[in-house]
């Protein structure tokens, strides 16, 4: 097999907080190949954004630190690079798109100035060339009349247009890897569709690897070839989208897939829920992190964290019970609304 574009191995990232040290990312590994789109999915606080920040070495300083593992980008370990070396990688060979395009752009500089800045820093070109290239780039991301837009400020653009500008900036230097952290979460569905199509199109065009971080399983299913499901800082399950969506093996993945209302579920039917909520990083369960919300929990789950095991080639899961669950596949009945029983007893309002 050829070398992966990005290979994250046993990454551990910790944060120093007032209440103590927390491990936001705990021993996660995954790979992204050229031309491939990897999705990272999970709920807030699961460590998906911290993973992206670790790869870009953009962790909040001095609280955030990578304390273990390696991040191999084109064979080079990014963890050991100096700040100056990292600056040459960031923006030039790894592009990044953030959730909120208004905060990613500088409000007091024109679009043109921000876009040419990227080019001038990373490429040996003149200002005129940079302006020409920037206009080409804006045109590529589907911004109408790009030469006029160059002289405008971020507030003059709509949310969707701003996100296109951010994508243009991220791709200006033809990076080999694009990291998109919730790129469409702040946008309307019709605009989300535009942006996702755009990223797909540019990827086939430029052959780059894409790492897409989102909480939306629909976005993952439509745009990614493989997916990592994260829960409380750990990888719960990973595999190709077909592995994970067709044969979800971790109880958390199953719960997530069952709990989202779909267009074809009967209206007002009871949705399957995952009871409780994501544990805080300061008081994580001793054993499996999902143990306190899991409907298949056994006493043994509370002792130690389950190892990552291979279900089938390329499909891995971190759960003690996965073999039993798989064997009993047909017998598993969907538990609806567990742990959320409500007793209705109300006195009348006078």
């Amino acid at each position: 097999m050829s070398q992966a574009m990005l290979s994250v191995r046993n990454l551990i990232t910790e944060f120093e907080t007032d209440e103590g040290r927390v491990r936001a990312v705990d021993n996660i590994s995954f790979e992204v190949n050229a031309g491939e789109t990897l999705g990272i999915v999970g709920e807030s606080g699961c460590g998906k954004s911290v993973t992206a920040q670790s790869i870009m070495r953009l962790l909040p300083q001095p609280m955030g630190q990578i304390v273990g593992g390696e991040i191999l980008f084109q064979g080079r370990d990014l963890v050991s690079l100096s700040v100056a070396e990292m600056q040459k990688v960031r923006g030039a060979r790894i592009g990044m798109v953030f959730q909120e395009p208004m905060t990613a752009l500088n409000p007091v500089h024109t679009i043109g100035r921000q876009l040419t800045e990227v080019l001038l820093i990373h490429k040996p070109i003149t200002k005129d060339q940079a302006i020409r290239e920037a206009i080409v780039m804006l045109d590529k991301v589907g911004i109408p009349s790009p030469d006029i837009r160059m002289t405008e400020y971020p507030h003059q653009l709509s949310g969707g247009m701003r996100q296109r500008v951010v994508i243009a900036m991220a791709l200006a230097c033809q990076p080999s890897l694009l990291i998109a952290d919730e790129p469409t979460t702040a946008l309307d569905v019709t605009i989300q569709a535009q942006i996702l199509e755009l990223i797909k199109e540019l990827q086939t065009h430029m052959g780059m690897a894409v790492m897409l971080i989102t909480h939306d399983l629909g976005v993952i299913a439509e745009t990614c070839s493989s997916v990592v499901v994260m829960y409380a800082g750990k990888v719960a399950e990973k595999g190709s989208v077909y592995d994970v969506f067709d044969r979800p093996t971790h109880p958390y993945t199953r719960g997530l897939l069952e709990s989202i209302p779909r267009l074809d579920t009967p209206p007002k039917s009871k949705l399957t829920i995952i009871p409780g909520m994501v544990p805080g990083l300061l008081d994580l369960p001793q054993g499996c992190r999902f143990e306190n919300r899991c409907r298949y929990r056994k006493d043994s789950c509370t002792v130690a964290s389950p190892p990552i095991e291979t279900v089938e080639p390329g499909h891995e899961v971190s759960c003690y019970e996965w073999r039993d669950l798989k064997a009993n596949e047909s017998k598993i009945d969907v538990v609806t609304g567990g742990g959320d029983s409500i007793t209705f007893k109300m006195s009348a309002v006078a």
Binding site: V189, H215, V219, S259, S269, L271, M277
Partner: protein
Amino acid sequence: MSVIPLDTSSVSPLLQVRDLKMHFPVKEGVFMRTGKFNKAVDGVSINIMPGETLGLVGESGCGKSTLGRCIARLYQPTSGTVEFGGTDISRLGRRALMPFRRDIQMIFQDPMESLNSRHTVGQILEEPFIVQNIGDKQFRQTRVKELLNVVGLPARSVTRYPFEFSGGQRQRIGIARSIALNPKLIICDEPVSALDVSIQSQILNLLIELQKEFNLSYLFIAHDLAVVKHISDRIAIMYLGKIVETGDGESIYRTARHPYTQSLISAIPVPDPHHKSHRQVLVGDVPSPINPPSGCAFHTRCPKVMDVCRTVTPVLSDDRQPVSCHLYPS
């Protein structure tokens, strides 16, 4: 299936909105003169039956929240009527509105911003009773405990502050407050949009259970069509201040008529990798409601635009699945 078709002939609607308009003045220039108007809601008519959920879907800036706020009378509409249980409340003053405030409640998107952070949960839930002057202290405290139980929060929450709760729990507090006075209609303005996937389903289940138990009517405002379809009996699609299509959830999804509805549905990412998307990607953005396009407001983005659309404003048809589009001449 649990959907019982509502017999519209015998029951009279709980809420009847007729030709509602909300135009916000836009102040311009050195003298802050009102030159233009932001036509956030521009001639909307909807009905809600007792016990029914009407889903209201649209993109940001389409006026769906403004419509909800006009019905809850947080805004005084520019024109049109809001009939609640037979009384037009659109022009009522503060005092005359008081009894209706009990019957119409709201749940907001961000429970952190809609709960007073300096009040305990007990104080927050007691306030509606104090404002409406209902019961003595002891009655109120029993009610608060009952409310917490109904929304699935422990009784000890009474002395806690909103920041001590997670997003999902805070939304439960918001829901408890909204049902405190046994209202008839609750305006739910994006109640699950800020929540995580696994929490979202908990809250949707709760809302559905409460509706059955207390025969509540909901106006459920959201941009996520899958969520809206799950909870609604009927759905209204809004674009630039106007309703462009209404119908029951199933027919909106299966036989959407308006090109905008069709592209909205096709734009939803389906959580199934085998699903082949036949996506109609809409070009461009939603135009500004201050200066809406002539004719049909959607003509600037419509894949099926015709000449007539640019000049003539379509009206909502009068059939089973009303649509406002020139493709369906009545």
